[in-house]
């Protein structure tokens, strides 16, 4: 659960786990493929080894047969031996035969038999059951057809397979058959196995070709029944390689027929050698390698986990910093700066965030500065619309509102009281100017100057100015009624409105400037406001304003001289809205 939580919440863990999983998956696939390749390779190796082992095994038998022949030939021509044979002294003969077999150093348990040409046993170095001679009759028949009267082959004597060599006893004509041989027993399979490094078993199948019986094997004897079972179907595989499951292992098995004739054409028991290679043993080095590989992959996975953790940490840690910074910026702290100590994409991002924070801070400052002279809405609009504040000629409506009786008031009130009253009074006017999207340009003593149609363009700036003027008069009436106790005196406000082409923009020194309008139109508005002193109208507008805001009732007050203007100007008083 904690792991899942970490995975879901932390990018670095997600990256690390993803990479580690990827590495582990690749390692797994590599192991799987390597396993398959190893298995195929092991089979190929065992097959090759079995083929070599079969050759070596047959060579081993051949060399032992050759040893027997090499000793049998001179032995049977030995003068003393001939003499003993001729004298018919059987105990001496057996003793001489034992002496001969003892001379064969590289063949264990050699046996020697002497039979006459009718295959009657004359002497033997080993105890034989009655009728044992029949087992080698075929070999004698083969020897008789051979130019050197010799033969060799595997026979079952008293249910024990022997490799037998037949040679004639020469005195100097052939007088009898000498048989020398060695049993294909545990000792033989053990020594064959030492040479070939394979598992070797000797088994036979009686003439009925049904069951098989195991005679010797390099496998532990307690597996013999299992081994016999596993080899039952051997007949179909002679000359090929087949797999048998036995002893909790799989053995690739090659069967050698040890009989001289093809077993199908023989009426003798079949004697076979099973040469087997263990798949587990062959795979053992590969298994060790796989284990090492698995270990390497696991360590690789862990290292990847840590390394990707570290790398992703180096990505996500600054991201956390950036995220924290952005969070704080989002919360309104535009002074926050994130670390820019990297040259990479994260460094670029940090730079961008800092630029963004800088811009936000600047705009915030502007907003706060603007907020003192314009409504929040206008300020937002100014900031949002990327207003041009460099100089521009534009038609705007300029409104001047002036407090009447200010001289009397200033005499009646203390300076502090006067300032408090003026602040209340300007609050009242400013809120109306804001309401109609005007901008307070400046306060000049008891006078306030407002602009409509700049810096934010308004098509109906004249109408907005007139509506503001009307609302100002109402607001002042309400202000007076509301603050009668606080400010127990009467006052009026004269308003002049002029619509004209003026220059708008930031003006001042490079250290101190403000957004304002300049031009004749401003002066005209101020003069019109002055006219309210002598005329029975609190709101006086120019011809331009009347033309631009025709939805009101105006009364022409005739043409009048305006200071600074060459020609007389027609002015209008607002009668009703």
């Amino acid at each position: 659960m904690m792991f899942l939580k970490l995975y879901k919440q932390q990018l670095r863990w997600r990256i690390a786990i993803l990479f580690s999983a990827l590495i582990l998956a690749l390692s797994g696939i590599t192991l799987l493929l390597s396993n398959q390749a190893n298995l195929a390779n092991a089979r190929t190796n065992i097959t090759a080894n079995l083929s070599i082992t079969a050759d070596v095994f047959q060579q081993l038998i051949k060399s032992r047969v050759q040893s027997l022949k090499d000793i049998a030939r001179p032995a049977t021509s030995d003068h003393a031996f001939r003499q003993v044979y001729s004298q018919g002294d059987i105990p001496t003969l057996v003793s001489a035969m034992r002496n001969l077999t003892a001379r064969i150093k590289n063949v264990d348990n050699t046996v020697m038999m002497l039979v006459d040409f009718d295959n009657r046993l004359i002497a033997s170095t080993t105890e034989l059951n009655t009728g044992a001679e029949r087992s080698w009759q075929d070999l004698l028949d083969q020897a008789e057809l051979n130019a050197q009267l010799e033969a060799d082959g595997v026979v079952l004597i008293d249910n024990q397979p022997y490799e037998l060599v037949v040679t004639p006893l020469l005195i100097p004509d052939p007088e009898a058959w000498v048989l020398m041989g060695f049993p294909l027993d545990q000792g033989f399979t053990a020594s064959a196995s030492r040479i070939t490094q394979s598992n070797i078993s000797i088994f036979s199948q009686p003439v009925d070709r049904q069951a098989i019986s195991l005679h010797a094997s390099t496998f532990a004897t307690n597996g013999s029944v299992q081994l016999e079972d596993s080899l039952k179907s051997f007949a179909e595989h002679i000359g090929g390689i087949f797999e048998v499951a036995f002893n909790e292992d799989t053995y690739l098995t090659s069967i050698l027929s040890l009989n001289n004739e093809a077993i199908s054409e023989s009426n003798q028991a079949g004697v076979f050698a099973a040469i087997q290679g263990s798949l587990t043993e062959e795979l053992a080095p590969y298994q060790r390698l796989n284990l090492i590989l698995a270990g390497v992959f696991l360590v690789g996975g862990i290292i990847t986990l840590l390394a990707t953790g570290l790398i992703s940490n180096s990505i996500t840690k600054p991201l956390v910093g950036l995220s924290q910074g952005v969070f704080e910026i989002g919360a309104g702290d535009y002074k926050v700066r994130v670390k820019e100590d990297r040259q990479d994409e994260i460094g670029d991002l940090a730079k961008s965030i800092n630029e963004m924070a800088g811009n936000l801070e600047e705009k915030d400052q502007i907003r706060r500065l603007l907020g003192r002279s314009v409504s929040t809405e206008v300020a937002e609009e100014l900031l949002n619309n990327d207003i041009q504040v460099s100089g521009e000629e534009r038609e705007v409506t300029v409104l001047f509102a002036d407090l009447r009786n200010f001289t009397a008031l200033s005499e009646a009130l203390s300076a502090t009281e006067l300032l408090a009253f003026l602040n209340d009074y300007f609050d009242c006017l400013s809120s109306v100017i804001d309401e109609f999207n005007g901008v307070v340009d400046k306060y000049i003593g008891d006078e306030v100057m407002a602009i409509f149609g700049a810096p934010v363009r308004r098509e109906n700036h004249a109408e907005l100015a007139v509506l503001a003027a009307i609302k100002m008069q109402q607001a002042i009436a309400e202000f007076k009624a509301k603050n009668h106790t606080k400010w127990p005196f009467d006052f009026e406000t004269g308003i002049g409105i002029n619509t004209d082409l003026v220059v708008v923009g930031n003006m001042g020194s490079k250290f101190r400037n403000n957004y304002t309008v300049i031009g004749d139109g401003v002066n005209v508005a101020s003069r019109l406001e002055s006219k309210t002193k002598n005329l029975p109208f609190w709101i006086i507008a120019s011809q331009n304003t009347v033309n631009a805001a025709p939805g009101f009732e105006w009364q022409s007050l005739g043409s009048t001289e305006i200071r600074g203007k060459h020609d007389p100007v027609e002015i209008f008083g607002l009668t009703a809205d």
Binding site: S77, H79, R82, Q83, Y85, S86, E144, L145, A147, Q148, L149, P168, L170, I171, P172, D173, P174
Partner: protein
């Protein structure tokens, strides 16, 4: 070698015929027997020893006098390979080679041993029991010879045509015995000899020829 062998045979036959002439023929009726021997392949077989043994035994008067013959060792071979002698004959074994030989026989007919020697051994060997003596040389496995010791005056060896001709045999019952070094089974047949000439065609089965390998002294071959 062949010349020596023929000469020896002829001299032996001449002696035998002379003896038969002196001892038997004037007093009895005589018959004639011709035997032709062929082998498995119907080919005439020479050097087959054929003896006629009188049923009831041969009287001493009829027996041949023992003879003295030689079986030489020439170029590591026995010459001749087959020798027929009456019982009691003396056989000498002169070694004509410049190396030693060791002649022996473990046969029941005659067991003897002439350990390594050169030249002519001091004493000849007397073959005093009827039967076949197989001779060998202990140091040359391939050397083999046979001495057929007979107890009858009627014996011969087939010629190149596989023929023997017995003349002036006293009439009576005989056992015809045939012997060849390679015969598979012993052959014996009862036979009545009358004044009428008898012709017999005999076919015998031979064992495959066997000889111990002889190492060649003048070639690079292994043997």
């Amino acid at each position: 070698m062949h010349k020596n062998f023929s000469k020896q045979c002829m001299s032996l036959n001449a002696q035998l015929l002379l003896l038969i002439g002196i001892l038997v023929s004037p007093s009895c009726f005589a018959g004639e027997l011709i035997v032709s021997v062929s082998d498995n392949k119907e080919q005439p077989l020479k050097d087959v020893v054929i003896t006629l043994e009188r049923v009831g035994g041969t009287n001493a008067a009829e027996l041949n006098m023992p003879v003295s013959v030689s079986i030489e060792q020439i170029d590591k071979e026995f010459v001749p390979a087959v020798t027929v002698v009456p019982v009691g004959s003396l056989v000498s074994f002169p070694n004509r080679d410049d190396i030693l030989h060791h002649v022996y026989s473990f046969s029941k007919a005659k067991t003897f041993d002439l350990p390594l020697y050169k030249g002519v051994p001091n004493e000849p060997v007397q073959f005093d029991t009827a039967g076949i003596a197989t001779l060998g040389c202990n140091i040359h496995d391939w050397m083999s010879a046979h001495v057929v010791v007979v107890n009858t005056p009627y014996y011969q060896q087939t010629n190149d045509l596989g023929l023997v001709e017995f003349k002036d045999i006293p009439t009576g019952d005989y056992e015809l015995v045939l012997w060849h070094p390679r015969q598979k089974k012993p052959y014996q047949e009862s036979l009545s000899i009358s004044e009428k000439a008898i012709k017999k065609d005999l076919n015998i089965r031979l064992k495959p020829s066997f000889r111990s390998k002889r190492k060649s002294s003048n070639s690079n071959d292994r043997y």
